[in-house]
């Protein structure tokens, strides 16, 4: 190939890419545009894929039933690989194309977009459950559809305090090295532990680590009886297997992102007895909210077993926003960020099919649900261990 041909070929590729910049096919204004970013290839892809499938599944399900008040959902989504820059690009692109709400994902990108969301007035749900994102004073257009990490952590700590035999309960929080990892402790966890007389120590799980022997050596030395994970299922499973082979005798807790089927799949026997603060029920739990998903998946010929509770979470997070939009349309209103926000703030004990505690939003509180069920791994599946528990204050 001559130099010129190469150059022309390269230029051609660039032009093709640029030419498509305007976006996909033409869609009538009748449809409701919803922007979404999923992590299908990045570090949180292990749970991000199911979450994204859940969001897409719900859109498909609603559209097959005639849409929201007769208007179909046009879900525009892309993978962003957990990169802040990509999230910003896609957010700008989708909002520019008329997305009225946005389904976000990680803590890093949600934090980075927080100011722009407020400015653009785009109701935003993220799968990041950082406490601060539920405070309208700081993030007026962010809505949390599940118990925040710090609420989950305090629920776990409360359970420990109530069920610990004698002496001081010693708890180790093993967390992902990120804002996501630290948020349970930072936002009330430490204070709560102090108030309840729990000895709490934080241990960072370095990114990409495949061995936590050193951390467990320190944990063993501290005499901890409980280890709580704030990480995704991959690293948590590694740690569980590690602990098993070291013969560590402690009770393990998983917060949101490792209380799922993957952790059992990856850790096998080592996951037995693992407790999980799981805001969203897995599909194996029989409630109306999981039944509708099972029926949908079966009608599509997809396996139900392969889906984790991240699928439920994606589905029902979107469903709650869809309900907000339905209320706007049912009242004859115009779908704008402000009107959807106002409609969401009318949610009072709104039931998401029993998959999570009922959701309440007010203009001063965007933390939708404050309770959850604690689950426990029994014979290789997550089984409900307690009823819905309200998160204690601090």
């Amino acid at each position: 190939m001559s130099n010129t041909t190469r150059m022309v070929a390269l230029g051609g590729v660039m032009l093709v890419g640029a030419g498509c910049g305007g976006g996909g096919a033409d869609l009538d204004d009748h449809s409701i545009k919803v922007g979404a970013i999923f992590d299908l290839t990045g570090p949180t892809a292990d749970v991000g894929t199911d979450y994204g499938d859940g969001v897409r599944g719900f859109a498909d399900w609603v559209n097959s039933r005639g849409g929201i008040e007769g208007r179909p959902i046009d879900l525009i989504y892309q993978d962003y690989g957990y990169q802040v820059d990509r999230a910003e690009q896609l957010y700008t692109q989708f909002v520019g194309e008329g997305a009225v709400i946005f389904m976000g994902w990680g803590t890093g990108d949600t934090e980075a977009l927080r100011l722009r969301i407020a400015e653009d007035e785009i109701p935003f749900s993220s799968a990041s459950l950082s406490h601060r994102l539920g405070d309208p004073a700081e993030a007026p257009y962010n809505f949390l559809l599940a118990t925040t990490y710090s609420d989950q952590f305090r629920i776990a700590l409360q359970w420990i305090a109530e069920n610990h035999g004698g002496g001081t309960p010693i708890v180790a929080l093993m967390h992902n090295a990120s804002p996501f990892g630290l948020s349970p402790a930072r936002q009330g966890g430490v204070e709560f532990a102090e108030a309840r007389g729990i000895d709490l120590t934080l241990y960072e799980m370095p990114r990409g680590a495949v061995d936590f022997t050193a951390e467990f050596a320190r944990i063993r030395q501290s005499g901890a009886q409980y280890v709580v994970f704030q990480n995704t299922s991959g690293p948590a499973a590694v740690a569980l297997t590690n602990a098993r082979s070291l013969g560590l005798d402690v009770t393990f807790f998983c917060l949101n992102w490792c209380s799922n089927a993957q952790v059992i799949q990856l850790a096998g026997d080592a996951a037995e007895g693992l407790m999980g603060t799981m805001p969203y029920a897995p599909l194996s739990v029989d409630v109306p909210g999981t039944r509708v998903i099972r029926e949908y998946l079966e009608s599509k010929g997809e396996s139900v077993e392969g889906k984790t509770n991240a699928y439920t979470q994606g589905w029902w997070t979107f469903a709650a926003f869809a309900e907000g939009m339905r209320r706007v349309l049912a009242a004859g209103g115009e779908l704008t960020g402000a009107s959807i926000k106002a409609a969401l703030e009318t949610f009072a004990d709104y039931d998401l099919g029993g998959v999570t505690a009922p959701v309440t939003f007010t203009p001063t509180d965007h933390r939708g649900s404050k309770g959850l069920r604690i689950f426990r791994v029994e014979e290789g599946t997550w089984a409900p261990f307690t009823d819905f528990v309200e998160a204690p204050g601090w």
Partner: protein, 357 residues
């Protein structure tokens, strides 16, 4: 500057010009016109991309001064950008320093940090230096996330919006002018720097450091100067990111940022200002283009579209490999080739033909 065949200068000023020929000026004029008109016709999405490209250009030129011109490999780009971003942000947030002044201070602080982390270059070369700068990256990353009292740890830092003459500068449209001016200024400075004694010393150190010291270049001092100059602009890029987004998160400045910037200058062209821009543009726009292709074929070929996110990672690598094989001097050289081709068009010299004839 090389002497061009058929171009005669009658004045020293003309000889010294960066763009002495009419055609070059015409091209520059067209580019300037495009840059001026662009923000008025572009959608917010394209403006946002343009701003990212402009910031990346500043950072890539900075890195190119060190890697392309002086031959000192650095994996610490993300760290230096972080130092720039955090310095600018924290000065404005905690001490109320006007944002313009804190951006400048950030450049100086990053230059100082760059010089410090450049010290190992006295004894280390090539791969060993790369590892030393990798250490810098790790140290700064650790500092960002753990020095909670200063950086706020892993929490994002929210900054006040930059205001100039009562106008908010961080909207995409307003920031565009700042970003373009900064990028153009950086390019002009770097282009002139490379024609100065210092710039020549940089290149001499890159090409053969022993020979350079024989002809009187203080090699260590020159290397440190390259680290300082480079870091100055890298810090500038970091500070620009901070004020563009008004929010600083450490996740933007990880090792992968360093790698992405190295990819930019490799694809664009090592030791080329134009290449820094072209590389920054390509690497920034490539994922966006792949996304757009994915969305365009989502309806017609959903299977292919669902695979595209995974292909994206591969495409990134493939582009770099292809450039290393077919055109190690990058996009910049491709552009030169195109110019050369049209320069003599339609009487192109074709390899092999003269022999056959």
């Amino acid at each position: 500057m090389s002497l061009d065949c058929g171009v005669f200068h009658t004045r020293y000023e003309a000889d010294m010009g960066l763009r002495p020929r009419p055609l070059q000026r015409l091209r520059l004029g067209i580019l300037a016109l495009f840059v001026l008109v662009f923000p008025f016709v572009a959608s917010p999405y394209w403006l946002d991309l343009a701003n990212q490209v402009a910031i990346a250009t500043v950072g890539a030129i900075g890195l190119n001064i060190l890697v392309g011109y002086t031959g000192q490999i650095s994996l610490g780009q993300g760290a230096f950008m972080a130092i720039g971003a955090y310095t600018a942000g924290l000065l404005t947030l905690n001490f109320g320093v006007p944002w313009g002044a804190s951006v400048f201070a950030a450049c100086l602080v990053t230059a100082a940090a760059g010089t410090f982390f450049g010290l190992p270059s006295l004894r280390l070369k090539g791969l060993y230096l790369a590892i030393a700068t990798l250490a810098a990256q790790e140290i700064v990353e650790w500092g960002m996330t753990n020095w909670t009292a200063v950086t706020g740890g892993t929490e994002a830092i929210v900054l006040p919006a930059p205001v100039l003459f009562g106008v908010r500068m961080n909207t995409n449209f307003n920031f565009y002018w700042l970003a373009v001016l900064t990028a153009a200024g950086t390019a002009l400075f770097a282009a002139n720097l490379m024609r100065s004694r210092i710039g020549r010393a940089f290149e001499a150190v890159r090409d053969q450091d022993i020979a350079a010291s024989v002809i009187g270049v203080d090699v260590f001092r020159t290397k440190l100067l390259a680290f300082a100059t480079s870091s100055f602009f890298v810090g500038l890029a970091g500070a620009m990111i901070a004020f563009h987004r008004n929010i600083i998160t450490w996740e933007r400045f990880t090792l992968s940022t360093s790698i992405v910037f190295l990819a930019m200058i490799i694809v664009g062209g090592l030791g080329s200002i134009r290449g820094s821009f072209l590389g920054a543009a390509l690497i920034t726009l490539l994922p966006a283009m792949i996304t757009n292709v994915g969305r365009a074929i989502q309806d017609t070929a959903p299977q292919a579209a669902s695979l595209l996110p995974y292909a994206q990672q591969a495409v990134f690598g493939i582009v770099i490999i292809l450039f290393l094989i077919f055109e190690p001097r990058g996009l910049s050289k491709l552009w030169e080739n195109a110019k050369d081709y049209f320069h003599v068009w339609p009487f192109a010299y074709r390899r092999g033909e003269s022999r056959a004839g």
